[in-house]
Amino acid sequence: MTTLAPDAEEIVKLHARLRLAASTLRALPVAERAALVAVAAERLLDVTAAPGRALRYDLLSSTGLTPPVIEHGLRTTLGLFSRDALLALHAERDAAHPTQSMVVVLSGNLFSAAARPLLLPILCGCSVLAKASSSDDALPRHVQRALTNIDARLGAACEILTFAHTDGERTGALLQGPKLVSVYGSDDAVSAISARVQSGTRLLAHGHGLGAMFVASDALADAPSAREIAHRAALDVAAYDQRGCLSPHAVIVQQGGAVDARAFARLLGDALQALAQPFARGALSPEAAAAQMQWRGVAAAVGELQCASDSAVSYEAHAPLRVSPGYRNISVLDCADVSGLRARLLPLGRHVKALGVAGLRARDELSALAPYVCEIGTMQTPPLDAALDGVHPLAGYG
């Protein structure tokens, strides 16, 4: 475990420095803050510039993802932070109770999940003290560096700490004082932080989750349409190697289309296989590989498995939904209608964070199934203003 953080006493002093930095930040017009944040994102995106190259180098070792998958994640995340988009988002904010400084806890997330919680507070004139994951702090540290290089006033309003979650002393100091704490992590991580925040502090919890897809029968009118949906679905599965909280783990296909669920599973398998070269999957840990082996075995036993070297699709008809181990393993199931879809997703409860949909003109009733409902093919590329946990991205500090 890496520790890159001052001791607890210094962390307490950091809070005071960051409050001062926020005052300086707020003195800047929002248009200037938006422009500077946009430049920081651009620099990190620029693969020809030193900051962009260094970021990619670090992400390669910290994430276990392959270069094209990292590139996709960077482009579809940092690429959203244009000046105009930031200003448009800022205009939507609820400025009734702006927050001066906040703490962000990033524990075990996809690398790109750090972009919003670090850059959006800066846009709003709120300083950030972030505890990065001790296993992957690459993006937070590069974001902080980029802000500093562009304008020292922005850099001073963003500090990154890296220490283990078991470090109680530093965690205590981190949570001492802020009025707002935003936590990204597993249910256990959220509970642990929640138990330690001081009374009067607002906690924004962004727990882990997963996604699912629904292909309505009207979207499967013919083979070309089905193939096109399968291609888009494969992109959602392959992005981040299916390790994100929006990553789909099952495709639920409504009966009655010209292409049935079994045939759709084959198309999805083909589409995933086609991505194997240009969008290669990263290496698996022994634990992940073992989980994959068991999942695939069960899929073959209870359904039909289409297996390639680094992806697999199972068709399991009416079998209960099984959560895949990720890493591009996904099951395809049948359902009769939206009620059937609801029943399928029921065991996952509140953990369903995203529902990708193809077809179905009337989608109102789907919004109850997941906080983020979108077209298949866009599950992993939510817009800047997406309410990913059911709340506006500036909620709490805007």
Partner: protein, 361 residues
């Protein structure tokens, strides 16, 4: 190729290799035939083979093995349920359904278990008193361990075997009396049981120590999944040796699984009992079992010395699936394997939810 023909060939091979000799070519030839037969006759196995690879009929040894989780969700058997003579279930200490192994015939189980135990646990004695820290098969008829230990009592026990674990309670007073008697009468005994039962005894005995007579031995098996306390293997060895006065070489692990009919044993007891030089502590597989260490992703064999997952091909599993893919990590050491724990509990590195957490919530 018929089922009866395969049964006879396996039985003959066990008979020939019961003395510990090896004939890997004969084993592999028989495995090829059995794997092909099971691919056609065990529906689930055929599905697994077709799902996980494009089978090369010419080399059935490369057919995929059945992952252990499959036994939780499907009946893996060539025969109808009406022909089951025994069904063993996994312990159910993990989440989800218990795995089931449906046996049509126990003759190969018995023949293999007796031969392996004779060689590895009782190479120096015909019979001795057995003290069993596990429930009896009458109490838990679906436990393969209890079945095996009850058979040991018949084959190797002197007098009636003593079960000190009854109704899920370890009778520590009875165990203490038995141990004192063994010490006082200088009668070597065999303590056989689950690792967790030994830990439970350890926690109960406090400062009590025993110096069991020379020739006494301990066989422990199983892990600590779902238990409130776990002990590392090295620590366990020292703990048992200190508690019971049994030299470490005479304390061995048995590696068995509900899904297998055969067992693997650590080598030290046999080597020490027969005065052989002790090699590194490792698990020995009998000649009718093929243990491979495979890459967890490709499931292809790894070079010697590399860690991977254990795949076990057990010829005694004629009516079910002889090729079992475990999630146990291990590596080859000399002529055996070293198990390094289980590769489970993976949480995807990202913010996707672990499977258990998702369905638990």
């Amino acid at each position: 190729m018929t089922r009866d023909g395969l049964m006879m060939r396996v039985s003959a091979l066990i008979g020939r290799l019961a003395d510990g000799s090896r004939d890997d070519a004969a084993r592999d030839a028989l495995l090829q035939d059995l794997l092909r037969w099971q691919c056609s006759n065990v529906d689930v196995y055929g599905r697994v083979v077709r799902g996980l690879c494009a089978p090369d009929e010419a080399d059935a040894l490369r057919f995929p093995a059945v992952p252990t989780d499959v036994f939780r969700v499907a009946r893996v058997a060539a025969h109808a349920a009406a022909l089951d003579v025994r069904t063993f279930h996994t312990s159910g200490t993990g989440k989800g359904a218990r795995g089931s192994h449906h046996l049509r015939d126990l003759s190969l189980y018995d023949q293999g278990a007796q031969a392996a135990a004779k060689r590895m646990l009782f190479p120096d004695v015909a019979r001795m008193p057995l003290v069993i820290l596990a429930p009896s098969a009458n109490e838990v008829p679906d436990s393969s361990l209890s079945y095996m230990l009850d058979r040991f009592a018949t084959w190797f026990g002197a007098g009636e075997a003593l079960h000190v674990l009854r109704d899920s309670q370890l009778d520590t007073a009875l165990l203490e009396r038995t141990l004192r008697t063994a010490v006082n009468t200088r009668q070597p005994i065999a303590l056989l049981g689950t690792s967790f039962a030994f830990v439970h005894a350890e926690d109960s005995f406090g400062s009590l120590r025993f110096m069991l007579p020379s020739g006494s031995r301990i066989m422990q098996t199983g892990g600590f999944k779902g238990r409130s306390r776990s002990v590392e293997p090295g620590e366990m060895l020292q703990m048992l040796s200190a508690r019971y006065g049994v030299q470490e070489a005479f304390i061995v692990q048995e590696y068995g699984m509900t899904e297998l009919c055969s067992q693997l044993y650590e080598t030290t007891l046999r080597d020490a009992a027969l005065g052989h030089a002790l090699g590194p502590r490792r698990l020995w597989a009998p000649g009718w079992v093929r243990v491979s260490v495979v890459n967890p992703d490709s499931l292809m064999p790894v070079p010697d010395g590399e860690t991977g997952l254990l795949r076990i091909d057990d010829l005694c599993n004629v009516d079910t699936a002889c090729a079992i893919q475990t999630s146990d990590r291990g590596l080859r050491v000399d002529d055996g394997v070293l198990v390094q724990g289980r590769a489970t509990g993976a949480t995807p590195r990202g913010c996707s939810l672990a499977t258990d957490a998702a369905l638990g919530g």
